[in-house]
Structure formats: structure tokens, C-alpha cells
């Protein structure tokens, strides 16, 4: 509330006791078609004062934020999903309709509406104005992308449009910030109660279900406002002639994908190493600074190491999202989906599955959330089911450790590829093959779908703004750190307790006598055929929380500070595991769904335990069978 002029009346400053009847917040809904720049405007109006929320019972995500208003009454903005109409066919449209009608639990009925339209394509976007104006709520019609309209020679008479529609109209460029003050004025005005009541539109609203009539109405309104459509977007046409070129387009596509991978693996490495060092040195420093005690051991060996091993992945995940954010905001992502569609169709999927699967190489959780753009329910479900097979960054620490310890480095393809890098690449391929085979299986059986139309809008290319990229990363970092601070933290504590109890003569027991040891011993018969001993067993159980946890667990179990002496942990693994067991462990991790966060997000996105249960059983079965076969093959000397 930095811009607050009237501190005596400010509820935030004076507290609720001075205002027992302090007014309920004024709720404003943001509605608009996809690609109208709705989220950009929302970010302008709220800045960091926003959060992601899910409507109860549905998977549609939305943002809620407080507007940067100077008035006394708090204004809450609700960013609704992008829709073309309010005819409820998709979940997005149903949610938008329910919220606007005040029929959504947990979301108060909006007091006013901001309708955001792309004025470079006004006639088509105005179609949505008909059902919105029919709601009779105070509404501001926002013509976004005003800068584009002007630069491409388009025109619109906003005053005439306002009288045509019977509602105020503001010409805005959300990306540049032009005209945003008019939006704030409207919000503040309606919050104070002198909201502009809607007048009847000059041309009577059409029957809302009749799309051709609505479009005709929109055309007439546009003509009444002297709307002159802009010239075609020249730059978009030029760029498309390269990006969708039969040869150059494919080359650009491949370069983009390689660049994404190169960045998240090579580019992120110094950052990750730096973070790793920070966690380590601070841990060592803490151990030195405070006398040895049980509490200190919990704090450093349990919590700091456990949580730290996960935080290390933050740079990698943020870099991936920076990339995806840039591709999405610039408009290239739609072209990538178009190019990938035919290949994806061979596996029973579609172009829109491509981006989630690409993101899954960093982390399956955001990948599964991004499947929301796939309208076809069965395609979406199939994408969710195969996303955890993609080699996420949490598998890397496990792969790196085992490969370094058990695969002897030899040249494989001359100087270009050694056996260790080859093994890593092989594991990536293995995950990918498992994913597409599973997709094929699902799409030819339980998720077989009628051939539905693949409809993909190609937005014009736009330069992404740092502001919106920054807000995305901020969102992602918050979600990721929250996970590290809850799930991973809890596992670290539980594991530490299990490893340090029951006390023997007031001292922590040897690991084999601890509760964790007992658990490991009890599952040993089951995992022995895979070549795993009871210590690996403890690691496997702890890694159900998150895959990378096994590295920390094994480090603790083998009595080594794995992070300080990585070669030490490698050495003890070499003396304790057979070659067969080690390679079986790699195969196990390639297939197994060792990740609580993924299970949780699949449950949320599919609306029940059924799909995550099927997925977990299927992947664990594959992992066990794969590990078993590998171990037997290596033992009998075939591999």
C-alpha cells in the first residue's frame, strides 16, 4: 500500500478494529479470448501481488491478485481462463460462466468485468462482448494491442464504439503500459460505487447461441465504430516463411530444441555447482561453529543436506522455464506444436503434447500442469501418463553417481562420445522409448479417442517482455521452493529419525540396527533378484519422496559425506554392489515413478486416485521387471 494517501481510512494501516464494517473487497473479473493479452494486463495491474489458485473441484488454474489502486477499498482481480464464448463446451468456458454468474464456490460474484479484446482483430473478438454485456454488470471494454493497431495502420473510434456497445471503452497497450491508468480509474470508480451502469447497445444483442448471428452483430458494431482492420502483420509473415519453411523450418526447430537442452544441462551447470558449494560449505561451517549434538546432526545431516540436494536444481528448472516462457510469449511455441504434430500423431498424440513432454525433461510436475492446453481429454490424459518417463533433472544425480562408479570410460564413437556419456544418452533414449510405447498402448486401448479436430491458433509474433518472463520465473521458483520446504523437508526429517532411532545407551544405533535398517532388511528379499542390498532398499524407499533423495540417503548410510567426498561414496558402492545390480538400478530409475510431487499433481489434474494409482503400479512394474532382467542378463554374461 505504498501509494496510499489516506492512512486513516486505509484498512491495511488501521486494522479491522477501527472499521468493524470495513467493506468487502471489490471483485473484478478479467475476461477475454486466448491471445488477447489478458495475462499481460493482469500483471500490469497487480505486479507481484498475485497468486496462482485452483477453482475447487476443477483443474482450471487462475490467478488472483490485488490491484494497485489508491482508493480505500481493496480491489481483488480474478484472471479467468481465455475463452472465445460462454457456451459451455470446455472446462474453461464452464468455469468462466460459473464465476461470472456467481455460481462458483469460494469465488465471490464479480462486481465488475474487464473485457480484454485484441483490437488488431476486433470484429472477431467483439463476438465475446455479446454474452458479457448480456450479464448487465459494470463492464469496461479494453481494446488491447493499441500499439500494433496503430503501427499497422488500423483505426477505431473508441467514443463511437462506446456508444454502440453502451459501455465504456479504453484503448490500451498492456505490453507497453499505455492506457493502463484508464483501467485503474474504471476499477476505482466502480469500487467507490459510482460504477457506470450499462446502457443498451445501439444494435440489439443477438441470440447468444447463434454464432453466425453473433459474428454479424460484431461486424455491424465494428462498422458503426469506423473500425479499420490493420494491415496483415508483415513481420509475422516474414518470420513464418522461415520458421514454417519445409527445410529451414525443421532446421530452426531442431536448433531450438538442442539449444534448450544445451542450456539446461551445460549452461545451468556453473550455477548448480555454485549452489551446491554454498550448501556444502555452509553445512560444514555450521557443524564447525556449533558443538556436536543430536540437534546439530538433525539440522545439518538431516535437513540441510536433504533440502539442499533439491534446491540445487532450481537454476536448471528456472532456465528451462525462461526458455519456454520466451518461446510461448514470442509465439514460436504454436509453430513448434504445428511442426511436431505429425510426428506426435504417429504415437497417437498431437502437437499440443509436445511442449509438456519437452518440459518434462526438467520436471514432470510443471509439465503435467501445462497439459491443460490440450482440449481433448484423452490426449491430455495420455500425455500426463507418459510425462514421468521423460528423463527429468532429478534422475541426473542418480545417473551421474552410478555411471561414474560402474561404467568404465572408453571411447565409443571416437573422440565425440565416450561410454559414460553414451550410457547417459542411452538412458534418455530408454525413457523416451518407454513413453512413446506407452502412449501407443494407451491410445490404442483405454484412451482410444474419436478423431477430434486439431485446432491451433497461430498468434502473431511478439517480443516477450522482461516483466512477464520475470513474473513467470518468480511463480515457478515459489512453487518449487514450497515443495522443497514441505515434502522434501518432511522426508529428510523422517529419514533422519529412522536412521537415528532406537537409541542404544543414549547414542544413535549402527545403521543396520536402526528403524531404517530394519525396513531395508525386511524388503531385501524382494529386491535381491535385482541385485540390490538392504542399504539400496532404504535408498529406494526414501526416493519415493523424490528421486535425487537416494543419493543423499546412500551418502548418509555409507557413513560418508557424499557431497564432500563423492569419490568416497562411489568407492563404497563399488565394493558393495555388483555390476549387474548397478546397471539394474539405472534401469529401475529410468522407469520408476519415484516422485511424490508427481503423484500428487497427477491426482489433482485427473481428479482422483485412479490414474495416479494405475500409473504408479505400471511404472513400478516396468522398473522392477526391467531391473530384474538387466541384473540376470549381466550376471549370465550376456550384457
Amino acid at each position: 500500500m505504498s501509494g496510499c494517501h489516506d492512512c486513516d481510512n486505509c484498512p491495511a494501516a488501521s486494522g479491522p478494529s477501527f472499521h468493524p464494517n470495513s467493506p468487502a473487497p471489490h471483485v473484478v473479473a478479467l475476461v477475454g479470448p486466448p491471445n488477447s493479452g489478458k495475462s499481460t494486463l493482469f500483471n500490469r495491474l497487480t505486479g507481484l501481488r498475485q497468486k496462482v489458485a485452483n477453482f475447487p473441484g476443477v483443474t482450471v488454474e487462475h490467478h488472483v491478485g490485488r490491484a494497485k489502486t489508491t482508493g480505500t477499498r481493496e480491489v481483488v482481480l480474478v484472471d479467468l481462463p481465455g475463452v472465445y464464448s460462454l457456451n459451455p463446451r470446455s472446462e474453461d468456458e464452464q468455469v468462466t460462466r460459473d464465476v461470472l454468474a456467481g455460481g462458483m464456490d469460494g469465488v465471490p460474484k464479480p462486481d465488475s468485468i474487464l473485457l480484454i479484446l485484441d483490437c488488431t482483430n476486433l470484429a472477431r473478438h467483439l463476438v465475446l462482448a455479446a454474452p458479457i454485456l448480456a450479464l448487465k454488470l459494470p463492464t469496461l471494454i479494453i481494446l488491447n494491442m493499441a500499439d500494433d493497431l496503430a503501427s499497422r495502420g488500423g483505426e477505431v473510434d473508441t467514443a463511437a464504439l462506446a456508444s454502440q456497445l453502451g459501455a465504456p471503452v479504453a484503448l490500451v497497450s498492456a505490453a507497453k503500459g499505455d492506457g493502463v491508468e484508464k483501467v485503474l480509474q474504471f476499477i476505482e470508480g466502480t469500487a467507490q460505487g459510482h460504477g457506470a451502469a450499462l446502457k443498451s447497445p445501439l444494435i440489439q444483442l443477438p441470440v447468444l447461441q447463434d454464432v453466425p448471428k453473433c459474428r454479424q452483430w460484431a461486424g455491424q458494431v465494428g462498422a458503426g465504430a469506423a473500425y479499420k482492420a490493420p494491415e496483415p502483420p508483415l513481420w509475422t509473415r516474414r518470420l513464418d516463411s522461415v520458421f514454417l519453411h519445409p527445410v529451414a523450418g525443421v532446421a530452426v526447430f531442431i536448433v531450438v530444441i538442442v539449444a534448450v537442452f544445451q542450456t539446461i544441462f551445460t549452461g545451468a551447470k556453473p550455477l548448480m555447482d555454485g549452489l551446491q558449494n554454498l550448501v556444502q560449505t555452509s553445512g560444514v561451517w555450521m557443524l564447525k561453529a556449533v558443538p556436536d549434538s543430536i540437534l546439530m546432526s538433525l539440522l545439518v545431516n538431516g535437513i540441510w543436506k536433504g533440502v539442499g540436494s533439491v534446491i540445487v536444481f532450481l537454476p536448471q528448472i528456472l532456465l528451462l522455464f525462461l526458455f519456454i516462457g520466451f518461446l510461448e510469449d514470442s509465439g514460436y511455441l504454436a509453430r513448434a506444436a504445428l511442426i511436431a504434430d505429425r510426428t506426435m500423431a504417429k504415437f497417437g498424440l498431437q502437437g499440443k503434447s509436445f511442449i509438456p513432454l519437452l518440459s518434462a525433461y526438467a520436471c514432470a510436475v510443471p509439465a503435467i500442469m501445462s497439459t491443460r492446453t490440450i482440449e481433448n481429454k484423452r490426449d491430455r490424459l495420455a500425455t500426463i501418463m507418459i510425462a514421468p518417463f521423460m528423463t527429468c533433472s532429478a534422475r541426473l544425480p542418480v545417473y551421474t553417481l552410478i555411471i561414474a562408479a560402474f561404467i568404465k570410460e572408453r571411447p565409443l564413437l571416437g573422440p565425440f562420445l565416450g561410454t559414460q556419456a553414451g550410457a547417459m544418452l542411452g538412458l534418455y533414449v530408454l525413457g523416451f522409448v518407454a513413453a512413446i510405447v506407452t502412449a501407443r498402448l494407451l491410445k490404442s486401448s483405454v484412451l482410444k479417442s474419436e478423431k477430434t479436430a486439431f485446432v491451433l491458433e497461430m498468434p502473431p509474433y511478439r517480443m516477450p517482455t522482461w516483466r512477464s518472463l520475470g513474473l513467470r520465473l518468480y511463480d515457478r521458483a515459489k512453487i518449487f521452493l514450497r515443495r522443497a520446504g514441505t515434502v522434501i523437508l518432511a522426508v529428510a526429517i523422517v529419514l533422519w529419525v529412522l536412521l537415528n532411532l532406537p537409541l542404544h545407551n543414549g547414542k544413535p544405533p549402527a545403521i543396520t540396527d536402526s528403524y531404517a535398517g530394519a525396513i531395508g532388511h525386511s524388503i531385501e528379499p524382494v529386491i535381491k533378484p535385482l541385485g540390490f542390498n538392504w542399504k539400496i532398499g532404504i535408498g529406494l524407499i526414501s526416493s519415493i519422496a523424490a528421486r535425487e533423495v537416494i543419493v543423499g540417503t546412500l551418502g548418509t548410510i555409507y557413513g560418508m559425506e557424499s557431497s564432500e567426498h563423492p569419490e568416497g561414496l562411489q568407492h563404497s558402492l563399488q565394493s558393495e554392489m555388483t555390476q549387474g545390480g548397478a546397471i539394474a538400478l539405472l534401469i529401475f530409475f529410468a522407469f520408476a515413478m519415484q516422485c511424490m510431487s508427481t503423484i500428487a499433481v497427477v491426482r489433482r489434474e485427473t481428479g482422483g486416485w485412479r490414474w495416479p494409482a494405475i500409473q504408479f503400479s505400471y511404472m513400478t512394474f516396468l522398473a522392477y521387471a526391467g531391473g530384474f532382467v538387466t541384473n540376470q542378463l549381466v550376471h549370465s554374461g550376456i550384457m
Binding site: 472465445y84 482483430n121 454464432v211 453466425p212 459474428r215 513464418d240 523450418g249 479436430a453
Partner: protein, 97 residues
Amino acid sequence: MSFKKPRATRKLPATLAELREGENGILERIDLPSDVAQRLMELGFLPGAQITRALSAPGGDPRVFRVDGSEIALRRETASRLILRANGVPGILADIS
């Protein structure tokens, strides 16, 4: 409204799938289930609208179509269910956008 006919011998394109790059036609009707048809109509594929075939993905499928001021990609199998007007006369909506 001129209707380009690149070769005199070629029959008029009967569906969207038969349009060549840069060619255009007038939509007559959509031969698809009503929910898909409704979605396409909201995107501008209305009877009487003028549709221009733009670029495509490598291999020619899916293809991008210019309709009502925006570009929409459709797979070939979907495009072949959008029937074009035989005489190529623009409808009421053709000149709005």
C-alpha cells in the same frame, strides 16, 4: 473478390483440404460433429467466410488457414470436412474482416 484459378483444367477445390497455398475459397458448410463445428465457427469458420490457405507444417500437414483476421492450423482430415462453395461467390461475412 477474385477467385484464383491457377490452371484452367483444374476443378474448383471442393474442400479446404484441396486449397493450394495462397488460394482462397468461400466456406459453404462444416461437415463435423456440432461441438467441433461450433468451435470452428467461433474461430471464424462461418458459412460465407472467405478462407485463404497459408503455409503448412513440413510435409504439408497440418495446414494454416487465414480466416477472419487470424491464422488457424487444422489437420488435413479436419480441413477435408469443411466444404467450399462451388461457385466461389462471397457471402455476407466475407468482407467484414
